[in-house]
Structures are given as structure tokens and as C-alpha cells.
Amino acid sequence: MRAALNTGRTIRQGSYVERKNSPAYREEASSLHMNRVDMLELEIEEGDHVCVRSDQGAVVMVACPAEGLDRGEVFVCLGPFANFLVDPETHGTGMPDFKTTAVTIEPTTAPVPAVKDLMEQCGGSGYEG
């Protein structure tokens, strides 16, 4: 399924923002909010894993239904999961298109990575302490 990815703050994202390696932060930052009819069409239920792909890469997230979104629109709180997909082009403004990323979504059984795993995929070395 093709969709437009929007990002923004949520109160849960803000609550755990200083504990980015906690399960609670991962759960919030990897939640892909989507329209229920789109979920029906993809034959997925709340909590199912989905692979979300843009021209920048792909990341596994967890589908959850949201009332306020139209079909073809998905929302992920700002954070490392959404940013795995956002193009760094700023069109001369310094600001990437954080609110309008074209993505495709398909069901998957792959696990949802931890924030540390995502940063390791970027070339970092996870700090466990």
C-alpha cells in the first residue's frame, strides 16, 4: 500500500524522550498510526508488524489504528523510526520534508528494532550501560 507519512509530537513521545532506550519509547516511536480501512485492506490488525519503506530505506514498525487519519495517510511520532525514512533534502531552507514522505507499507513478521539497533545500522556502536 502506498501512503503519505506525517510526523509530529505525541505526549507519550515527549514523556519518554529522555529515555530513548526504554521499551516504552521504542513502542511509541515505532507505532504507525493508520486508517482502519487501510488496515483492513492490508489484512492486518492492531499490533501487527509492517515494513515501511521510502526511497531512503525501510524500517519495521507496529500498526495501530487512528481515528483522525484519512485513508492513505499515516502518522509516526518524530524520532529515529520516522527519520529512517525522511529525505535529508531541504530545498534550500535547512528543513527536511518531515511531514510529507511517500512510503509503501506491507505486512511483515520481522522484529521491530531497538533504537540502538537503528543507530548501529547508521554506523554507530550501541552503548549498553
Binding site: N6, E73, V86, T90, G94, M119, C122, G124
Partner: protein, 429 residues
């Protein structure tokens, strides 16, 4: 011990009415704060000591060794980037700017990925703003455009707008009209008197239509614009023009959507049109605590609010060129100092990849996404908890934050001053 009138160090509202209970060097209770404030004070789990990466593994080092290494990395770099600054106090930001000048570095703050486009628009057409106190006491119409305060600034509505009784607005909830404009339904749109649901990317067109209506050109408006009926736009324009005092607050829905700085410019120009009929103001919903302060401090020292490049020996500013995301995506900087922010989590992946390729030093109290990309992290006190300093509220009012207890961590100011002294000595200046 209970400390009264504590300033919250989380979002740009800088609520200054918190009551915080402290037991030795630990916060054990918070009154008056929102969920975000409670988590900030109560969920505070710090990195214990400086850490350094060798190969792919991490080890603990002393503060002195970490400061030495940080300074040496910056001295050796040809094009260092000093990024972040919004989570710390003005005094530390000021040392950061002087350090950038000494190094010939680029210094940028988090407005580069929040209200940078708003600043660009304000530089073009000005800023008809006001303090939050004016809004609370006078405004009878509030517009939230591309902003969701209930999630991002949870007490904005109760302290200043929807639910805040003021001198001329005795019963706010009844007397104030609230208009929310967004591409999706949110908790904030649910409490609005009018919710304008715009199609994605349609903000500029809606702003232009409202400007035309306020100018008296209703006959030019087609039946539907960007998913919004003209009847609703007429109704909203009438509410605004009949207001005694209106206040627009806009968020990243304008600055990050197609049009960016031009959206904000159009919103400011709508405010100007409305001022032909009544009194209207417009203000950005500044998010990350002292991000407004970083703009103030950068400006009073360099003349520019963010993205300041000292490579030429003088301050140079050109968003799109000297902004952090552009510098990182081009792979241009060869070292990065991150202070009080988390670009690993909040920049596009390509930028995080470059941070992992170069020596990245992070000065931050917590383990965050950037920690995993960094070479070195130095933990510090949290301003507003165990360090004091000045921060600016979203409306430009400076507020002094206090230390709640004497902790064991040095402040950002102490660490940066030591790095500055070492760089200064090495440069012989």
C-alpha cells in the same frame, strides 16, 4: 523540602508555577506540572560518568580526560559543527558561540529543524507578536494552526488560552472562540469551536483564501479549497474580523509542510490584513525548552539566530547552506559537538550516518540515540534541576531558572568553559 515557583525545564511554555518536592539530591514529587513535566523531573535517569568509544566498545573516562579529548578533536577539525543548545541555559549557549568563533566553526541550534523557516519568514516581513500575558488577558479568538498543544505544550491552553480566565476575558471557556487548523484530527482539534481540516500541503492556499476574504474579495473564492468549503472559510474569517483581540499560534504543521517559510510568511501577512479590522497577533509555538533563548543569544553575539558559519572569520548565515542537516547530508563537517539535543533521533538517517563517520562529542545528561553514534559523551547537570541559568519562554520573556539541589554533575557552562580555555590556549589567542 518543597520548592515553590519552580520553572519547568521541558517545553517552550516555561511554566513557572511548579511546586517540586526534593529529598537530598532527588526529586520526589511535582505539583502543577503536566505529564511531560512529571516525567522530566521524576523519570530523570542520567549517564553516570563520561564515556569514550574505542573501536566498537565503550569505557568510562574521567571528566578531565574527556574535556581534553573533546578540545583536541575540535582543534584538529577543519570544519567542526557545534549543534544543539536548546536544552541548556543562555550562559552556556554564549560560551558555545564564542567557542565557534574561536574554532572558525559552524554553530547551529535546534530551530534548524523546528521554527527555522518561521525565522526566515520573520526576517522577510516582521513579527507582529506579543507576550502570552497579553493573550491571556485580552484575546477572545485563538487560532492554533498546524499545532497540537494538548500533546506538545500541554498547559498552553490552561495557562494562556482556551481555559485561562484573564483581565478582560472573565470566563474564558465561554467567551473565547478557538479555531484549529490541521491536516488531521487531534486532541486539540477536538476542543475547537471550528476545526478546519486542510488537505496535506494545502495550508498556503487556505491562508491566501483567508487573506482574500479579509480583503473583501469573497466572490473570488471557489466552492472548495484544499478540502475546505468556502462557507467555513467565510465563517472563520468573520469570527476573526469580529474579534476584539485575536492571537494566532502556529506550529510545525506550517514550517515542515510544503511551502515552509512561505507558509509562515503568508500567515504573518494574514495577520497584517486582520489588523486592518481589529487587533491580531501571531506567534510560533516554540517547542524545545530554551530554543528561543538560543536564537536570542546567537543573535546578540553574531547578528544571526541560527546556522552561523565562522569559517570566513566573520559570521555568515545562509539557511540551506549553513544549516546542520545540509552540512551533514553533504558530509561536510569533520567533527561535531552536540550539546543538549539529540540529532541521532531527530535528523534524517543520512545525517545520523555522517555523525557516526566523524568524531562526535556529546554533552548531555542522558543516554539518547546520539550516544550510540558518538565517540565521547560527557554527562552534565540538567538546567532547572541541578544547574541554574537563564532561559527564554516561547514569547521571548527571559526567566531565571534555579537549582533545586546541589548535585554531583558539572553544568554545561563549566564543561564548555573548560573546553573553550583549552582551545584558546592551543590557538594561542
Amino acid at each position: 523540602m518543597k520548592v515553590e515557583d519552580v520553572v519547568c525545564p521541558f517545553c517552550g511554555c516555561l511554566c513557572d508555577d511548579l511546586v517540586v518536592e526534593v529529598d537530598q539530591n532527588r526529586v520526589i514529587g511535582v505539583e502543577n506540572g503536566c505529564t511531560l513535566a512529571n516525567e522530566k523531573f521524576m523519570g530523570d535517569r542520567r549517564l553516570e560518568n563520561p564515556i569514550r568509544k574505542e573501536g566498537r566498545s565503550w569505557s568510562d573516562i574521567t571528566y578531565d580526560a574527556a574535556i581534553r579529548e573533546a578540545a583536541d578533536i575540535l582543534i584538529d577539525a577543519d570544519r567542526p559543527l557545534l549543534y544543539g543548545w536548546s536544552g541548556t541555559h543562555g550562559e552556556a549557549q554564549s560560551v558555545g558561540v564564542h567557542l565557534a568563533e574561536l574554532l572558525g566553526a559552524v554553530i547551529d541550534n535546534t530551530s534548524t529543524v523546528c521554527h527555522g523557516p518561521s525565522i526566515m519568514a520573520i526576517q522577510e516581513v516582521g513579527h507582529p507578536g506579543c507576550t502570552l500575558g497579553q493573550v491571556k488577558n485580552r484575546a477572545d479568538v485563538i487560532v492554533y494552526w498546524g499545532a497540537n498543544p494538548i500533546d506538545a505544550h500541554p498547559r498552553h491552553m490552561s495557562r494562556y488560552t482556551t481555559y485561562a480566565d484573564g483581565f478582560f476575558v472573565k470566563e474564558a471557556f465561554k467567551e473565547r472562540k478557538v479555531i484549529v487548523v490541521d491536516v488531521r484530527k487531534t486532541e486539540s482539534s477536538a476542543v475547537a469551536d471550528e476545526f478546519i481540516k486542510v488537505e496535506r500541503g494545502g495550508d498556503y492556499a487556505i491562508l491566501s483564501a483567508l487573506r482574500a476574504i479579509v480583503r473583501g474579495k469573497r466572490d473570488l473564492i471557489p466552492p472548495k479549497i484544499a478540502g475546505v468549503t468556502r462557507e467555513q472559510l467565510f465563517r472563520v474569517a468573520d469570527i476573526c474580523m469580529q474579534a476584539k483581540f485575536g492571537a494566532i499560534f502556529f506550529g510545525l504543521g506550517l514550517t515542515m509542510s510544503p511551502g515552509k517559510n512561505k507558509n509562515v510568511r503568508n500567515a504573518i501577512e494574514l495577520t497584517e490584513e486582520l489588523n486592518r479590522h481589529t487587533k491580531f497577533t501571531i506567534s510560533p509555538m516554540r517547542g524545545h525548552w530554551n530554543v528561543y533563548g538560543s536564537n536570542e543569544v546567537f543573535t546578540w553575539i553574531t547578528g544571526y539566530p541560527y546556522a552561523v558559519d565562522f569559517a570566513r572569520g566573520i559570521a555568515f548565515y545562509n539557511p540551506g547552506e549553513t544549516t546542520s542537516v545540509d552540512i551533514l547530508r553533504r558530509g561536510e563537517c569533520d567533527a561535531c559537538l552536540v550539546v543538549a539535543s539529540d540529532p541521532g533521533a531527530h535528523f534524517p538517517r543520512a545525517c545520523a550516518e555522517h555523525l557516526a563517520r566523524i568524531p562526535t562529542i556529546q554533552i548531555d545528561p542522558h543516554v539518547n540515540a546520539t550516544t550510540h553514534l558518538a565517540t565521547l559523551q560527557i554527562p552534565v547537570a540538567v538546567t532547572g534541576i541541578d544547574a541554574e541559568g537563564t532561559a527564554y519562554r516561547m514569547d521571548g520573556v527571559p526567566i531565571r531558572t534555579r537549582k533545586l539541589f546541589d548535585g554531583t554533575y558539572p553544568s554545561d557552562l563549566e564543561i564548555l568553559s573548560k573546553i573553550y580555555a583549552r582551545v584558546k590556549e592551543a590557538k594561542g589567542s
